[in-house]
Symmetry: C2
Subunit: 541 residues, 2 copies
């Protein structure tokens, strides 16, 4: 949920100053069109971490737009009058009419998040409330509203830094109270609760827009541009569709995204690779034979650009497994039989039973990747697929299946090199087709689809791991290691004594025989983790 | 939920025999079109009370249609293989492909209902599962499926009778086991659990069709006709709409409905009326001043045909109340301000706080009555309104507000008489307009809308009371009494001593001074309830 907001976005002040006048003019124009057309109300939710710039943003919107047609609705604890009516009463009361923008500072999300952090309500109650909210927002959208929900995200360190910065400036020191510092302690808990709650309420009709709150210029431009685009998309469309959908609207201000920040320089020497391969394959074999695994199952999803090395990575995983216990399912175009069924049917049919592993070479994400980009299905179909996929993986996890998902990313140059190689080497020629060259032309569209996919489907129970795959050796080891570590955590099976001894031997052989600085493996894990971004938000927070 | 199935439907054998050949031919034709077009799969759920004819119906469908393109999928407890995968796996496995009809005997509903009856899961878990099912079925429908869900209903007595009938016939005696008789004991519990679960899963995209299971001919024709209509509606529509909706499809075979079975002969003499009026108005005054009411609120909804006497009834209720504590809200066409908001907004704004009563003269049901019939809103708008209204009333009930809903029904003749009277009597002339005469022409469409409304929105927490209103006096007393009894139950405030004494005095005065057989009131309530149908299913079951 928060991946895209954790890669240190930044917009230079000079860029910001240059962009604002045009943005203001366009926002004002959209506001006038909104007011004159009276076609819809705009419901704008501003929420997120303390110190992430919620009130600054609201003030800025007032500065940029015409305050006569804006209203801010701030909610804290309910009054006595409000408590004597259903909880939603005060929000209904505050809804903006058609033609106006209502900014909600505090909303129907706040109470549940607060009560859950305090431990007053169960996860089931949170889910029940998420369901209620989804129905409420569906009603709003069906009644014509544009619902935009912003979540301003800060990592724990960034939150600390912002509070310190505010405190050190005499102009803003008054904003920071003891209460804010207290709240810092609950940062991680808030991330966990919000991560789940946001995912449950991230619907096609009212999606969340998660914004990095640490840089003022970036945050302000993102909110302004996103609001503008969403309003224009609705204002310029003569009739609202019957299945109301809010388009994916996140404005990509600084060009940074979860893929562009991957460090494609990461690589391994041949020796180091062979040592690590032995280590992790041994560990995987051990884990797959552990008693705890007899009551669990594993689903591995491999996705990646063309020629990113999925097949090779899968072979390295399989090499460690008993052939009776795993199955590799390559996903190509659906068969006739599969086409006559819902799009997830062909994955359901291959689900492993206990003690088994299924490796999918391409997956159910086809719908939000190739089908989206190539236009094989309609927008409302791939939009609803995010929720369907999350539900699917949630059902798997609920039943004890461990879901591990890899995206293998290579650079455009590396892809070109591999394509050419494939054309030249006889036994690789079958691997390259005209279609591959065509797909390559849509590189940017695919990258955007991958970013949206990660934002919307990287969850606590089924996180995405993005793999820097320009170096095949590095990629294979990262995949094996991630899989082992995940299994270790899920099965609560630490390495056996033999494994530890083996790891030590390997480490020793490396020390003596190498000149490059090898990464050690084994117990000393954290120290040796590569610097690359690991995308498991709920584990982090 | 079960109202329409509790009014003793019956189709004569001769009528049935005459109707079947054409129905069979049409069903076969639809099946061929389905198979050749391969546009969609049909998912048919057959569920309900034991002995209500589930397997008979499935056998009949096999007899009527081409069994090559039908499959029956019977589910009982999951096998070991099934238990080692997510619970929905076996249902995914069994989904019919496009072009075929899959009949599910036992389905994704069965486990939850069974576990809830056994007390193994909480109401929250039931609701969570309902949410999961709704998403699953939405996915099916979005993927093109026609989802039809039948629930065969039997009252407890009817179930007993059916079991006895089956047992006494040597041809069918084998069908009845000790287990069935055991299950009879859980009839009421099943009704309660199913009533809630069905309401939570009664969506516009996959609505329930509740069928009276007591008469074989009626049940068979209803299922056949409903299936035929639903298939034809989809087959004859070239493109599925993006917001997939299954039309309201219940076939009205025998012309009986919850309105037609009302006994419009019920009436009260003037004396009796005055006594009862004093009695119940006194009781209502007492209840509204009770300490328990200080923490509750009441919302009274009055709907009815034109000239059915809503205003007069409301005045008789208000006469018993402290003017500071109640508010009458007449609902006419929405104001400009209201039109700029979601359709439920104008009702939310008038919600009473604790200790107060709001009486709505016409209500939020306008959308599924006048707006539906007159075409003021589109089909998908009034279809989604049922769910929105149930959510609204559920939120009210959750917050402690007591929701009491009356539909005042008069016959067409009586309406004509009253219209004419209004035109003749000077002070009543303002009450009759050209619009009233126009509405009258749409009598049947309105009656259908009312039946659908009752089926879909009469819930355990907010049941409909249908009032036989040809006699104004009878109607007013029924309304006052229902309101008092509901408040008494909710506030757990039995009548005071004075009230009991008053009731006795009134009863005595009646005995001495009357020639007609008066209904007594007071403690001896049950005996004196009028014979009319009372529509509070969840209280009954």
């Amino acid at each position: 949920m928060f991946e895209s907001a954790e890669i240190a976005h930044k917009v230079k002040k000079s860029v910001y100053k240059k962009a604002v006048p045009a943005l203001r003019a366009a926002l004002l124009e959209a506001q006038v069109d909104l007011y004159e057309g009276k076609k819809m109300p705009v419901v704008l939710l501003i929420s997120g971490q303390d110190g992430a710039g919620k009130s600054e943003t609201i003030n800025l919107l007032y500065e940029w737009m015409d305050p006569r047609f804006l209203s801010t609705l701030a909610f804290s604890l309910p009054s006595e009058e409000e408590r004597e009516r259903p909880p939603m009463w005060r929000y209904w009361h505050a809804l903006p009419p058609k033609g106006r923008i209502g900014i909600f500072a505090g909303s129907w999300y706040s109470d549940t998040i607060r009560e859950r952090i305090l431990g007053n309500i169960s996860l089931q109650e949170v889910d029940a409330h998420a369901d209620q909210i989804n129905r409420f927002e569906a009603m709003l959208v069906n009644e014509g509203a544009l619902v935009l929900k912003f979540w301003f995200h800060l990592t724990r360190d960034a939150q600390k830094k912002r509070l310190k910065d505010l405190e050190s400036d005499p102009h803003t020191a008054w904003r920071v109270t003891k209460w804010n510092w207290e709240r810092l302690k609950t940062h991680d808990k808030l991330q966990e609760v919000a991560g789940h709650f946001l995912r449950m309420t991230n619907t096609p009709w009212a999606p969340w827009v998660v914004v990095d709150g640490s840089d003022d210029c970036y945050r302000s431009l993102t909110v302004g541009q996103t609001l503008l685009r969403a309003m224009r998309a609705r204002l310029d469309r003569p009739h609202a569709p019957s299945a109301a959908v809010t388009p994916l609207v996140r404005a990509d201000i600084d060009g940074r995204n979860v893929l562009s920040v991957l460090n494609q320089q990461l690589s391994l020497t041949q020796d180091h690779y062979e040592n690590e391969l032995a280590l992790w394959q041994g560990r995987l074999a051990e884990l797959s034979r552990s008693p705890a695994f007899k009551h669990r199952a594993v689903v591995c999803a491999f996705e990646g650009s063309d020629a990113a090395g999925k097949g090779g990575a899968i072979r390295r995983v399989c090499a460690a497994l008993d052939a009776r216990l795993y199955q590799v399912v390559p996903i190509a175009a659906p068969t006739d039989e599969e086409r006559a069924q819902p799009h997830l049917w062909r994955f359901w049919r291959h689900l492993p039973r206990h003690g088994h592993i299924t490796l999918f070479d391409r997956t159910w994400y086809g719908r939000v990747l190739v089908e989206r980009v190539e236009g094989f299905c309609q927008e409302h179909d791939w939009l609803r697929a995010y929720t369907e996929i999350n539900d699917f993986e949630h059902e798997l996890a609920e039943a004890g299946t461990i879901v591990v998902k890899f995206w293998l990313q290579i650079s455009q140059d590396e892809q070109l090199r591999r394509f050419k190689e494939r054309e030249e080497i006889a036994f690789k020629r079958f691997k390259i087709t005209q279609e591959d060259w065509r797909n390559r032309e849509k590189w940017d569209a695919y990258q955007q689809a991958v970013c949206d996919m990660v934002d919307r489907t990287s969850t606590g129970t089924a996180p995405w791991t993005l793999v820097e795959a320009n170096d095949k050796k590095y990629a294979r080891i990262k995949i094996l290691r991630t899989l082992c570590e995940r299994l270790e955590a899920e099965l609560q099976t630490p390495p056996s004594k033999q494994a530890v001894v083996r790891a030590k031997k390997i480490a020793k052989s490396e020390k003596s025989g190498k000149t490059d600085k090898p990464r050690k493996a084994g117990k000393d894990k954290n120290k040796n983790k590569p610097a690359a971004v690991e995308l498991e938000p709920d584990e982090k927070t």
